[in-house]
């Protein structure tokens, strides 16, 4: 079946460093990708999205890169702060997969060390 997965379950970074969280997807028909942040005890929060006709999209301190050739997605967080500590999920939609259904990865725990 189709899958969306993350390479690392836990990522530890020093405060102020840049963080890179990776995601692989297997379906070349996927055309929309989202990154969510989930803090402990809270629901997932939308961070940034990207469509398959783009390679890069930037937000505030975050950048998403999409490499369709190798079916890889990454989230880059600049100058990581303690408030960035959370679980990060990537999600995808598959063209023709039925409305707005998303497939989620299992998540990467980002830990920011002071």
């Amino acid at each position: 079946g189709e899958s969306v997965g993350l390479h690392l379950p836990t990522l530890s970074v020093q405060e102020g460093d840049n963080s890179i969280i990776n995601c692989a997807y297997s379906n070349s028909a996927s055309d929309y990708f989202i990154w969510y942040k989930q803090e402990s005890g809270k629901g997932p929060q939308f961070i940034i999205d990207i469509r398959s006709n783009m390679d890069k999209r930037q937000g505030q301190r975050v950048t998403v890169l999409l490499n369709k050739t190798v079916k890889h997605l990454s989230l880059q967080i600049a100058a990581t702060q303690p408030g960035d500590s959370a679980v990060y999920f990537c999600a995808e939609t598959i063209a023709g997969g039925g409305g707005n259904k998303l497939t989620f990865g299992t998540g990467t725990q980002l830990k920011v060390e002071l």
Binding site: K42, G43, P44, Q45, D49, N100, K101, L102, T106
Partner: protein, 114 residues
């Protein structure tokens, strides 16, 4: 801002009880979703709805039902709660306009079935 609210943050129920989880969104979104989230398994789609009075099964509908009598409200029902339904339940909504793929989540309901 999109606001999705869930009726309870924590619930404790006994095996065999009928459980209602309520979700309300205030953005006039057409689509609403119910997920459960378990460690190591990520978010799994239980049911979703594209319109009032319509519903579609997700990936794990067994043991659950839903109701959508009003556009803003989507209820998840556990007809006879079982211990394997102990989980975090997340509601989400999305619009069909402007791409419509981004789902916005509520804070979650942590359900414990004894």
């Amino acid at each position: 801002d999109v606001k999705v609210t869930q009726s309870s943050r924590y619930l404790v129920k006994r095996t065999g009880e009928k459980v209602f989880l309520e979700c309300v969104q205030d953005m006039d979104h057409e689509n609403m979703f119910w997920y459960r989230q378990d460690p190591g398994l990520g978010l799994r789609l239980i049911y979703f709805s594209y319109d009032v009075k319509m519903k579609e099964k997700g990936d794990i509908p067994e043991g659950y039902s839903v109701s959508r009598e009003k556009k803003e409200r989507f209820s998840l029902i556990l007809e006879s709660a079982s211990t394997n339904q102990t989980s975090m339940y997340l509601c989400a909504s999305s619009s069909i306009t402007g791409g419509g793929e981004t789902q916005y989540f509520g804070p979650g309901t942590r359900l414990l079935v004894l």
